[in-house]
């Protein structure tokens, strides 16, 4: 009961936070270490902006920021469902031999290709009127 309450509150809080908070205007938290040091885009880059765009119904924009949002958000929703209704069939399917391998290959290909020159559409675009102010 405690677990279900906690998970529901966390999911709602995160959704409301990302609905009102636009990460491309002002970002909290530490900067991405990979992007700061190497300049490369990892598989998670643009994820917060993509989630924000998704919550506002801008599906194409969400895809441009990070297409993994279309895998991660349904996955997390299904995890939330399994935990809330004690239905653990999902984990059985996730943990078979081929699905994680397929996902790993997909993520690796996505990460490599979004850093290549002719795949600019996979790179998170920098908005023109972004302020990029540090929080302090």
């Amino acid at each position: 009961m405690f677990k279900k309450l906690f998970l529901t509150v966390t999911a709602l809080a995160l959704t409301v936070f990302y609905f009102y908070h636009d990460p491309s205007v002002r970002s909290f938290g530490p900067k991405c270490l990979i992007h700061e040091t190497t300049g490369w885009y990892c598989w998670g880059c643009g994820g917060q902006r993509a989630f924000h765009a998704l919550l506002h119904g801008q599906f194409a924009q969400a895809f441009r920021f990070n297409l993994l949002v279309y895998i991660v958000v349904p996955l997390l929703l299904m995890v939330l469902y399994s935990e809330l209704f004690n239905d653990f069939r999902l984990f059985y399917y996730l943990r078979n031999r081929y699905f994680p391998l397929f996902l790993l290959i997909f993520v690796v290909i996505f990460t490599i290709s979004r850093n290549l020159r002719s795949f600019e559409f996979l790179k998170p675009p920098v908005p023109k009127n972004a302020l990029h102010r540090p929080p302090f």
Partner: protein, 152 residues
Amino acid sequence: MDKSQLAGFGNRLVAQIIDGIILSIAISVVLVPFIAALLGTSNWNGSPEDVAAWGIVGMIIGIALLSLFVPFIYEAIMISSARQATFGKILMKIKVVGENGERLSFGQALGRSLIKYITSHLCILLWLWPLFNPEEQSLHDLVVKSYVVKGA
């Protein structure tokens, strides 16, 4: 490892959230006197802007140090203690065990928590690893060969 004994992703997630809340409250309590001292010194000597600026730099370094090192030490000490669990894990009635169900040594626990936070700083999505591992091990569990199981 008996699969019915594994803790479950939801329990581990909630334990982590509780730990985060406990740690952030503890860290902010520790920081209160420093912030008060900082506000007190800002109009004391030299140009106020200078002192305030240096104070803020010091505060950022302090927060960074605290928020980096306190979670490591906290997790390592708690996991290698007799309860084999952090406060969040104790509340969720789960614990961390080694390969044969034994308690982790302090070094193992320290390595586990270090890898845990390094992976989270690389990308938080790496914490979804236990969803896909048949024995529900995360990356930090794979490295020190530990499991998270039910039991207070």
